[in-house]
Amino acid sequence: MTLTGEALTPGQARGMTLVLDEPISFWGGVDENTGRVTDTRHPQSGASVAGMILVLQCGRGSSSSSSVLAECLRNGVGPAAIVLAEPDPILALGALVAGELYGTEIPVVVVPSNAYAACSAARELTVEADLGSRRALVRIVN
């Protein structure tokens, strides 16, 4: 099944999903050296975002989350892609800056709610985001 959405940042990725049941603040919530969720109040506490297609409703909290996402990407422990239900400029900015500085482009995309539900139930996805057309394609592999 292929779903369409909006591209916030450009890039292509394929990977297993990590579905977050609640929004997360990367700042104070994710360790930039390991990619692990350190927020003990978060349902996915202890899981690693490294190399995963991160599926979450939206980000939360401090604008310093841009920095922490960029640090994760610099350290090679960032997500491979981010699939959101609501636009999140703070996470998109972190991905854009990492792209500018290190060439580590990861697609950050927003999909409509029915597509989001399908992504949340998927185990593996591919994500392609094109900035020119602002279009994103998300394919459910399984």
């Binding site: 916030l8 604008s63 310093s64 998109a92 900015l93």
Partner: protein, 412 residues
């Protein structure tokens, strides 16, 4: 600027700004009069790589730009603790941002500096408490800016025209109605901090209007805004009869009915204050005030409350402030009194995000809802939330002291 005629740093800044403007749904950019930049706080190597790229690309800010706190206290180097490598990097980042032409103000309360923005002025400010103060109390117009995009706005002199930059985006949609707050409580700092905490928890990203407050000082409004921007994402509030865009309730709401009316009772506020204390019965180890940075008026009140007494040897007492305010203290001859009373003045940074405090046995007491909100997670420290008077009395006595009168009517 996008074409590179302003140099490669400006080009990078313009590229990020235009992209963010699109993401925020802005159709155009608006010229800004000033910027306040938070990117000078070190998070990791990306902070340095980004700033170095801008400096190497000939970056220079186009508008008056102040800097938020950094990771180290430059004026009191003996206070800085933690990993020496991280300290060096934190200091280097502060140097790089100064090299971009930003003023080395190192304060999270830029509204305490001279030449602050005026009513209706378009600005691009970072730091959640500064954003909410600028919008609410000064009536200047800024969205929520943060790392990378704050300096991009300063280098281009532009911001996305969207949200709180526009008339429409500033109208209140949630009405908080206060009733029968005892006069003594209504004059205290904890009332405003607890109210801000309560509002932040219930407002999401909306603009609230608060009705039923007779009088508020700038420091009280600072405490309210900082609390609401920590427990929630509040970037602007109105207070009827007090803030400049709320001469009446109807004016604050743009002559429309608010979507939601939330009554606020004394018991709600007592619960909010209680929620900010995480320490249980842990003994008092230290006191920290000045989050956001302590103002001159707050130091004056601190002096009055100390009344010539000294802080107990068992308790460390920190007051974080801007270097500008420290200069004022010196000029008035207050600095020596305050430090002789056992108060450690911290400038350029803050005790909740930099390793400044000596190892503490017991809990930290503060009158800051923001410190109380972030302290336990950032530092693994338990917090006692109380008024400045409670903080000072506790510090002098060497043990937790509560003002039995303050919340008396809430527990009837």
């Amino acid at each position: 600027m996008l074409g590179g005629d302003g140099g490669v740093a400006t080009q990078l800044a313009a590229r990020l700004l235009v992209r963010m403007a699109e993401l925020m749904g802005a159709e155009r950019l608006v010229p800004i009069a000033s910027a306040h930049v938070d990117g000078c706080l070190y998070h990791g190597p990306v902070s340095i790589d980004f700033a170095e790229r801008l400096v190497a690309g000939g970056g220079s800010v186009r508008v008056e730009t102040t800097l938020n706190v950094g990771a180290v206290d430059l004026l009191h180097p003996e206070l800085n603790r933690g990993d020496p490598k991280r300290r060096t990097a934190g200091r280097e980042l502060m140097r790089l941002y100064s090299a971009l032409g930003c003023r080395p103000t190192w304060t999270c309360a830029p509204y305490q500096l001279p030449n602050r923005p005026s009513l209706g002025e378009q600005i691009a400010w970072a730091e959640s408490n500064a954003i909410v103060f600028a919008n609410s109390v000064l009536g200047a117009r800024t969205e929520r800016y943060g790392d990378f995009i704050d300096i991009a706005a300063a280098l281009t002199g532009r911001a996305p025209y969207v949200g709180l930059h526009s008339d429409e985006g500033r109208l209140a949609t949630v009405h908080f109605r206060l009733d029968r707050i005892p006069a003594r409580l209504a004059a205290s700092d904890v009332f405003f901090a607890a109210l801000g905490h309560f509002i932040g928890r219930r407002t999401a990203r909306n603009v609230p209007v608060i009705d039923g407050i007779e009088h508020a000082t700038e420091d009280q409004l600072k405490a309210l805004g900082a609390a609401a921007a920590s427990s929630g994402s509040v970037a602007m509030f109105h207070m009827v009869g007090i803030t400049p865009e709320a001469s009446t309730l109807a004016a604050a709401c743009g002559q429309r009915a608010p979507r939601q009316v939330i009554p606020v009772s004394l018991a709600d506020l007592a619960d909010a204050a209680e929620e900010l204390t995480s320490a249980g019965n842990a003994p008092l180890g230290a006191v920290s005030v000045g989050t956001p940075h302590f103002s001159l008026a707050e130091f004056e009140r601190l002096r009055t409350l100390l009344g010539g007494r000294r802080v107990s040897d068992r308790v460390a007492f920190y007051a974080s402030t801007g270097r500008g305010v420290q200069e004022e203290l010196r000029a008035r001859g207050w600095l020596d009194d305050i430090t002789a009373a056992g108060v450690t003045i911290v400038t350029d940074t803050c005790t909740y995000l930099a390793p400044i405090m000596a190892p503490i046995v017991g809990a930290v007491m503060t009158n800051s809802a923001k410190w109380a909100w972030y302290g336990p997670n950032n530092l693994g420290i338990q917090v006692i939330f109380g008024s400045l008077e409670e903080c000072v009395e506790s510090a002098v006595r060497g043990e937790r002291w509560r003002d039995a009168e303050l919340w008396r009517d809430a527990h009837r």
